[in-house]
């Protein structure tokens, strides 16, 4: 069986990736399961989708615990515990990551001995409008790495899943899928169709006896205030708002009032400042500022600017 997990962010087409790959396998006569995993249903939040494909009837169900392939659309997820990109990876799990950071760096960062395929991010997915194209690219990555899917089948699956889009978008999707598929020829079939099970009869279930806790412990109550500060939702951003303080008129601080995440604080000097650890990048503030003092900058560029690697 092939067990594939796609990790990305809401808006990057991970569900689409799963569907294109699922349809590709199905067209090749495999039994298939594909499913997205919804959580916080919001653009930018970590999301994953998974696909099982087998020559025999699939009895497994639910989230894939022992993936044979993990495709990561957004390399910022690798360091995010709740994205659980590394969950269940073993020595023979292949990890494919769309990233401009070299493979060796990932290998040492993640301390992995298993195969890593590092794929430079295609230009098509870099801009805001191209986000959704990541899904198409990831499906092509998985199709090539699994090796059981000819390019013509992949194209047919893209047409089936994205046929409802404008013809120009469909054509671009097809050419991106094709380009990605071609570029990965050296990795053809590095992922194996193995007749294994997802569990071992030798592993104990790891049960614990659950005892009664006092109500003050066992009721779903958060006693500590401000715990939401601990969740760095800034990781959700694909675009970041940047305030040009020279342009800012210190109006009624519309930006701060309308920010749904209370991520804009106004200092004693009256100048609004954005808390990038929690700003989710919804860009409501950009739309609200009456003097257009807030602009939307792609997150990757924002990070480079923050690090002084690029001029503002």
């Amino acid at each position: 069986m092939y067990r594939i997990r796609f990790h990305g962010r809401g808006g990057q087409g991970m569900k689409t990736a799963g569907r294109i790959l699922g349809t590709s396998f199905f067209l090749e006569g495999f039994d298939v399961q594909d499913a997205p995993r919804y959580g916080a249903e919001r653009r930018g939040a970590p999301i994953f989708a998974y696909v099982r494909a087998s020559r025999s009837v699939i009895q497994e169900r639910g989230v894939i615990r022992r993936p044979s392939l993990v495709v990561v659309a957004d390399d910022t997820l690798a360091g995010l515990p709740e994205a659980d990109v590394l969950g269940g990876q073993s020595a023979d799990t292949v990890m494919a990551i769309l990233s401009d950071v070299p493979e060796g760096t990932w290998r040492s960062r993640l301390n992995l001995d298993s195969p890593i395929v590092c794929i430079p991010r295609p230009d098509a997915i870099k801009g805001y409008a191209g986000q959704a194209m990541a899904g198409v690219c990831c499906a092509a990555v998985a199709a090539r790495l699994c090796g059981s899917i000819p390019k013509s089948t992949l194209a047919r699956a893209v047409r089936e899943e994205l046929g409802f889009l404008a013809p120009s978008v469909l054509e671009r999707s097809l050419s991106e899928a094709s380009r990605m598929f071609d570029s990965l020829a050296p990795y053809e079939a590095v992922v194996r169709d193995r007749p294994d099970r997802e569990f071992s009869c030798d592993n104990p279930p790891g049960w614990v006896e659950l005892f009664h806790d006092a109500a003050a412990v066992a009721a779903p109550v958060i006693f500590g205030g401000l715990t939401s500060r601990l969740l760095k939702t800034g990781m959700w951003r694909t675009f970041r708002p940047v305030i040009d303080t020279a342009r800012c008129r210190r109006c009624w601080w519309l930006c701060s009032s309308f920010c749904p995440d209370s991520a804009i604080h106004v200092g004693d000097d009256g100048i609004p400042a954005i808390d990038y650890e929690h700003c989710k990048g919804c860009l409501v503030c950009v739309a609200r500022c009456p003097v257009h003092a807030i602009s939307a900058v792609p997150e990757s560029r924002g990070v480079r600017q923050e690090n002084g690697e690029e001029a503002v």
Partner: protein, 415 residues
């Protein structure tokens, strides 16, 4: 017949379309919404005749469903979880009206704490409502069950609403290959809706859903509902055979997987049963005679069938993805009452798991089988087990620490 990839929600919508449902009262709720979206799109594009009306609540939706069925119209509706509970008053009411229609429930765990993922407490809350219940474990079963459900509901000896249950996420959002019956074959199988003279017609006044005063009259109608539901056991068997003859797929009231010579069996409902089947294969390979028994019909409860299938089995591990707080697993209790007093009755073990979408791992199925075999050999039956791992406990303790929960002196699970 066409084979394609469909989610459980897509399969449910196709069931309604193939059965030519004419009226769909709707209210959206995760994870059911996609069913309504599919039907709305088809009706909008005229691919499917019929009316879809959005109501202001599930309570109204169920009332509209019952009312339309009473008017002689074929009705389909769908809900989930909190929605099903919000409609609870009307579930009992429309079943008492003896009106036939099909309601799909996409299982989702109940609040609180509120969550999105599945377990079976919602559908079991409707256990005593008078609805017939069919529980599915694959997307294929969903579309087939909807067709069977209309035949059951509209059968002159039954005439009760039928609920078809599928798990949220693991079926509702999961695509699998599904063979769709062709429209003509499905229409022939389901047939037209004959309201048996119990429908509103201008110029032929009649009163439905009348009130009674007095326990004797009340009892008569309630008993009749019960007897009608019991009729559904034999009717289902006949329909299921007819369905197999026409479409080549068999969906018996009780599914028995590798129960031949089985020493122990897993007994459970829903989509995780396929995982139990996987564990059965592994156990058989290692020489343990394991099997799987899965009741599809939950109401009426197929007692006779279960006794037949379980004859000779020495131990049963009942896995409940529900929890009757203060008692335990509902399926376990149901099964115990069905087997009590039987000669050579097997030992019964209870496991609670899969609440709120929690996975039940392959290792856990193997562990459950081992505990059951031990109980058979030793004759001593362990207490019901609440499936939970040391890792999970560590994780919840971490979350509690973040939430500033004071754990000292309150917890026995210190590690």
């Amino acid at each position: 017949m066409k084979r394609l990839l469909l989610t459980g929600n897509g399969a449910a919508a196709w069931g309604a379309r193939l059965a030519k449902a004419e009226y769909i009262p709707a209210f959206p709720i995760t994870p059911q919404t996609e069913i309504i979206e599919n039907l709305a799109a088809w009706i909008d594009s005229s691919e499917m005749p019929g009316r879809l009306v959005t109501l202001e609540s599930e309570h109204s939706m169920m009332t509209a469903a019952g009312g339309a069925a009473a008017a002689g119209v074929r009705v389909f509706s769908a809900t989930s979880s909190q929605g099903l509970l919000y409609a609870m008053e009307m579930l009992y009411t429309v079943a008492g009206w003896r009106v036939p229609f099909v309601l799909v429930n996409v299982s989702r765990a109940l609040s609180a704490p509120i969550t999105l993922e599945p377990d079976h407490n919602d559908v079991f809350a409707a256990r005593d409502s008078g609805f017939i219940q069919i529980h599915c474990s694959t997307c294929q079963e969903v579309v087939d069950a909807v067709l069977l459900a209309y035949r059951l509901a509209e059968h002159p000896d039954i005439r009760l609403p039928v609920m078809v249950n599928l798990d949220g996420f693991y079926l509702s959002f999961t695509r699998e290959p599904v063979t769709l019956p062709d429209q003509q074959g499905a229409a022939e199988f389901v047939g037209g809706f004959d309201p048996l003279g119990m429908a509103f017609r201008a110029g032929a006044p009649l009163s439905q859903a009348v009130a009674v005063l007095g326990g004797s009259q009340y009892s008569y109608f309630r008993y009749q509902q019960h007897l009608a539901s019991l009729q559904a056991l034999d009717v289902y068997d006949d329909l299921e055979r007819e369905f197999f003859g026409r479409f080549g797929r068999s969906h018996p009231a009780v599914e028995a997987y590798r129960t031949d010579e089985a020493e122990m069996v897993f007994l459970m409902t829903g989509s995780f049963a396929t995982k139990a089947g996987n564990a059965v294969d592994a156990l058989r390979e290692s020489g343990i005679r394991a099997g799987l028994v899965r009741p599809r019909l939950l109401r009426p409860f197929p007692v006779r069938r279960l006794r037949q299938v379980l004859r000779g089995v020495r131990g049963i591990a009942v896995i409940d993805q529900n929890l009757s707080v203060g008692k335990g697993g509902i399926l376990y209790t149901e099964l115990a009452s069905a087997l009590y007093g039987q000669e050579n009755a097997p030992v019964l073990l209870s496991f609670i798991g899969g609440l709120g979408g929690r996975d039940i791992s392959g290792e856990e199925f193997i562990g459950i089988a081992r505990v059951t075999i031990d109980a058979i050999r030793s004759g001593s039956v362990p207490e019901p087990r609440l499936l939970y791992t040391a890792d999970e406990l560590r994780h919840i303790r971490k979350l509690q620490a973040i939430a500033s929960v004071q754990q000292e002196n309150h917890c026995r699970n210190h590690e």
